[in-house]
Structure formats: C-alpha cells, structure tokens
Subunit: 382 residues, 2 copies
C-alpha cells in the first residue's frame, strides 16, 4: 500500500468516490419556518443592517470570523509545474481539509483562470470581503513576490504565500533542532540554499533574520552573487544580503566546506555522494524537493551526513508545510492580526522547534498530525 | 416570538453565537499518515495529472461536481438597497445553507468589493474554475442584465441571476395555480406587473413565454410604452413585447379592468383598496415587495381580491425563491447543463405548480421546506 503506484491508484479511486473532498455545511438549524425566519429572511435583515453600521461586526457574525481563501493561479502545482487552475483544485481542496482538521478553519479553494499579475491582484482584492485571511498557494516565482507584496499593502486582512513562508518556518524549525543535535550555533555555519524561487527566497530571509550570517544561494545558473546583472529583482535583492565573500561558481563549488545544505530546487538527484564528502564533517542535508529529493537520503547518510530530512513521508524527518500553515492562520484569525510579520514567523519557527524537547538524528520535528503543533505555532502569531 | 422585533433580536443573537452560518468540512478522513498520503501529497498528484489530461474529470473528482458560487456585489441587498459587500454576506450565507439543506449543494458566498460591470464580470470569470454553477444574487438592475448575459456567453457553466429567474419561476407557478382556482386561462387575462427591475423584467418575459398576451409593465415613472425614448435599453426591450395597445398613464390607470396584479416594486402600500375595486371581478393580487407589500393582504381581500399572495411568511400564500433555486441548480448540476434556458424555467414553473394537486385560495404553492419541490423542479432542468 505504501508503494507510490498503489497510493496513486487509491487516490484516484477515492477522489472519484468522494466527488470532491469538501462540503459546505450549515451551523444553523433549518427545520421549520421559524428557523428560516431567523437564519434567513426576514430576521437576517437586522444582521445586514448591523454590519452596514459597524463593518467590524462581520468578524463576529459571518464566516469571515473563521474563513481562509486558499488561492492559486495553478502556475506551480506541487512539483508538477504550470498545470493551470483546474488540475490545481485537488491540491487546494487537500489544503482546505487540513485547515479544518488541524485548526478548525473554514477554508475554501479559489483557482484563478488567469496568471496575469494585475488580474490576479484585482481578482483577489475583489473577493476579499468574505475572508478572514488569504493563503496564496502554488504561484510561481518571481510573480508570487509582487502579488503577495501588493496584496499585503492593499488589504486589511493577512495575506501569506505558504510556499514561501510556511516552508521557511518549517525549514528553520528543523534546522534549529538539527543544530541542537549537532551542538552547533547557526552563526558558525555556512549554509547553502539551493533554489532561488518562492521557498528558497523565504527560507534564506528567515535564516538571516534568525542570525545566519554565512548563507549562499544557488540556482540553476549557479551561485547568486551581488552585482550580477543577469539576476531579476527578487534574486538581486537576495544576493545583496547573502554570499558576503562574493563567491562565484556552481552548486558543486558552493558545497565545499559548507555545514548545511537546504535544497528546494525541484531538481532530483543534483547532489551526489562525492559532493557531500566535500562538505564540513557531519553535514546537515535537507533535500526537500518533491517527489524526488536532491539526493537519496540513504546515499547522503552513507556519504557522512549527520542528519537528513526530506519532504517525503516514507523517510524519517519529513518537512511538511502542514506543520506551519494551520497554526499560523489560526493565530492570525484568533488575534485578528492584520499583517503576519517576519518577527511572528520567526517566533513560530522557534515554537515549532520547541515542540520536540530532545531532538535526535531521526526526529527533529513533530509528526504532521501532532495536535500540539497548531497551538504552539498559533501562540506566536499575535 | 413571531413579532418582527423579537425575530430581529433573536437573529442578531444567534448570528453572534454561530459566528457565521457556514462551515467547510472534509468528506475525506484524515486520521493518519496513510490518509494524508491519499487525500493530499503524494497521492493527489495523480488526480492533478488526470485532470490536466482530461479537464472534464474535474466534474467527478473535485468540488466542482457539486458547487455553486452565490455571488453578489451588494448593490440590492434584500429590500434594504445598496449596502455593499460585507453587509450582504449574512444573506448570501443564508442562501448557501438553504442550498445545502434543500438540495445538498455545496454553495459558497462571494461578496464582491466592486460594483463596476467590467470588474464584476472579469472577477467572476477568473474564479469560475472551482464552481459547477453560478448564482448571481442581489445585483441591481439594469446592471444585472448585462452581467448575467455576458457571463452566460463567456462561461461553460450555468449562470443564473436568482432575483430575476427564481422569482419568475415562483411567480408563474403561483399564477398558474391561482388561475386554476379562478377557472381562467392566462390568455384571457390582463396582467399588470409593477416594477421593471430584475424581478419585474424576468417575470414579464416568463409570463409572455407561457402565453400571456396582455401584460402591462409599470415602473415608478408610469406605464412602459414602446417608443418612449426615456426608457433604458432593457426597459425599451420590455416595452416592445408588452402593452400592445400602447396605453399611457400611471399604475392607477393600468389597474382599471386588469385581472392580475404582480408587484415587485419595492414600494410599500402603493396599491389602495379603491384601486383594487377598479380591477375586473375576483382579481388576483401578488404583492411581493419585502418586507412590506404593495398592499396589505387584508385590505386587498376586503376590496374583493380572490387570491392574495405576498413574500411574507406570516400570511398565507408565501412566494419565496427558495421554491425554485435549489431545484434549478440541483437539476443543472446533475445533468451538467451548460445554459439554463427559458424553456427549462418554464418547465420548472409548471412542475412547481403541479406540486399542488388541488390549489385553493389560501394554498397556491407548497411550503418553503416541502421536500417534493426540489425533485420536481430539478426534473425540469435538463
């Protein structure tokens, strides 16, 4: 049953059987005319008038109190690429059921039939009133940075691109505990981040915020270096506060003498055993690309890695965004946070790491369905 | 408890207690890692790929199979007017719970933060992929006609403005049964429709489609007359196939010798007892404005009306859209109808009327929660 082919077959079969994973249900009883007159007309008119008078009342008397829109343009679906809005829907529904299961949030999927930045922003602004927060999902870089940034300025509810910040919170939490196992301070580490897209950028920013001072970012063209005119704006910004020694070269060069590798490249197998052997002793390897990691965990272990983590559920140390987003949004809704700041995300990563009192080489993070996690993470977002 | 003030107070109290009337729940179990791997990653990737290959598969494997967006721009909320998106939300949620309760449809409210026709159309087009059908709600005329018309052309899922067509289906069904009580054919009746907005326009069109040949439409400026240059485009269109004798004047003039009055004017008390007495004997009076009808039902009865209907639940013969929209959309989703045509709506009105085998003066329609209604109406939409 754990065989990938068997999982795929079972997933197709069950999705057909479910006919969609979500349903929208009533919390109000509708069993007679009296119920109808209170939940619907004429009684509801009083609620409308109350909100017209005091818009804030919507946050206590409507779904806005507890709703999150899970919005994608289908441009970067899982590791599958630019599939468009409809094929992205099963992933968004999956996210929504996790929101409900783990954080009791009423999340609804919105798959946009456009990938134009201006249209995406305009559409999200226009549908925002119903939602208490917005989770952007599976939107390709560099477009995702502008979309998130401008929506944050335009809207009075929190907007968070989970592929950036959810991933960053979980990666930092994992690194905090991995360094605890190794007995090392982050300030003393050279960290190589492979991938300069949504995840790589956010991970790097959060690592720097946490205190990392020697980070090198590599993308498919090589090491990002300040002053390189070929870089787009977000990459140039990234280069500006990393790679202080202005090293040039490829991934193979960056890894020599590094302590930590964090891969979010989407490129399977780009790290080899000989490359791991050029790293400093007892390296930490997070090979997070899905479905196939940058290096097979067994190969990495055999080449000397102290701790290996992947995005997969069939190896120890699974790094999964599900450890972050339910709690982040639970906290944001409960405390009516208007903007989720870097400081809050940093605190969330620390609280998540602290869920494991004694991390070990094969257990640096709690399990995806661990009930303590949401409460711990939510307490940081306020 | 049936006192309006008591209902209002109870409604406010319960809306606060519910904290929104809707919740989004999972139909898939998520109790362990194996569940997660099937409903979410990695299994879901196979479902994404299947839909990418065959987009039609979304209609069986995602929420699109059974979802309706209930969309408003907040410009004509109940009888309350242009309140904007947020105060409209409790009404949209109310609609969504009725969709679920009566037709097991998963409906989600979308309140748009714009009333610009182009922006409304663009936004709805962009969010359409997730939905199996679109219910436009509480959008003011004449804008509603252009929005509905253009979305129908642009989208491959059904789009229906309920304030137009739901109201029309219920009004025609009620009239069919009222005429049965009276023992009269519609072809022999002079019908005065008061109100030339969303509801008045759709009611008139459906009446004409059904066979009514002597319909006069009146708005606040008087009788609509073909050739009157002051009329906007939708009203000119309406005038073109009504009022064949090119009568001019006001409502008081139109009612002289009329057999049926259908009021959707939003103007309380504009019909008086003396006006009813100028109508033909045994007139039928549908005073549908909410919350206060065009004439008090008792006054109308005392002035000689054979049958009186209103939109209110505290009088006999309540005309409520809830008798139409759940069945119309249930049929549209089940039969994967691409466009809901006038012919289907006509058939729906007939089936709805047929739910009452022996109509009487105080019972021309089934109750709002009558379970037979959805099945009957749905069978007409195919």
């Amino acid at each position: 049953m754990n065989h990938p082919m068997a999982i795929r077959r079972r997933s197709i079969k069950l999705h057909k059987q479910w006919g969609g994973k979500l349903e929208v249900r009533s919390k109000a009883p509708i069993n007679n005319r009296r119920d109808l007159s209170v939940a619907y007309t004429p009684g509801v008119a009083a609620v409308c008038r109350a909100i017209a008078k005091t818009p804030r009342a919507a946050a206590s008397m409507t779904i806005k109190k507890n709703s999150v829109a899970v919005i994608t343009d289908g441009s970067a679906v899982l590791g599958l690429g630019n599939l468009g809005p409809l094929p992205a829907l099963p992933v968004m529904e999956g996210k929504c059921i996790l929101f409900k299961k783990l954080a009791n949030i009423d999340a609804f999927p919105i798959c946009l039939d456009t990938q134009d930045v201006e249209e995406v922003i305009a559409t999200i602004k226009h549908i925002a009133p119903v939602f208490g927060a917005i989770n952007l999902e599976d939107i390709a870089a560099p477009r995702c940075f502008e979309i998130e940034g401008r929506l944050r300025s335009a809207l009075s509810i929190p907007v968070l691109h989970d592929d950036q910040h959810g991933t960053a919170v979980v990666a930092l939490a994992a690194l905090i505990n991995a360094l605890k196992v190794k007995g090392e301070r982050i300030q003393a580490c050279r960290i190589v981040v492979c991938g300069a897209g949504a995840a790589g950028t956010a991970i790097t920013n959060l690592l720097v915020q946490y205190g990392a001072s020697d980070v090198i970012v590599v993308d498919r063209h090589g090491i990002l270096c300040h002053g390189d005119r070929r870089l787009n704006k977000p990459m140039a910004e990234l280069a500006r506060h990393t790679n202080r020694q202005k090293q040039v070269g490829k991934l193979i060069d960056a890894l020599i003498g590094a302590d930590v590798f964090i891969g979010v490249s989407g490129a399977a197998g780009i790290v080899t055993a000989p490359m791991v052997r050029t790293m400093n002793p007892d390296p930490i390897i997070f090979a997070l690309s899905n479905p196939d990691p940058e290096i097979d965990p067994k190969v990495a272990k055999n080449a000397g890695a102290l701790i290996v983590a992947t995005g997969r559920s069939d190896y120890p140390n699974q790094l999964n965004n599900v450890l972050a987003f339910p709690g982040v949004f639970r906290g944001a809704l409960d405390h009516q946070v208007r903007t989720i700041t870097q400081a809050m995300l940093l605190a969330a990563a620390k609280r998540l790491a602290a869920c494991i009192h004694r991390p070990t080489r094969t257990r640096i993070l709690p399990g995806a369905l661990d009930k303590r996690v949401v409460t711990a993470v939510a307490s940081a977002i306020r």
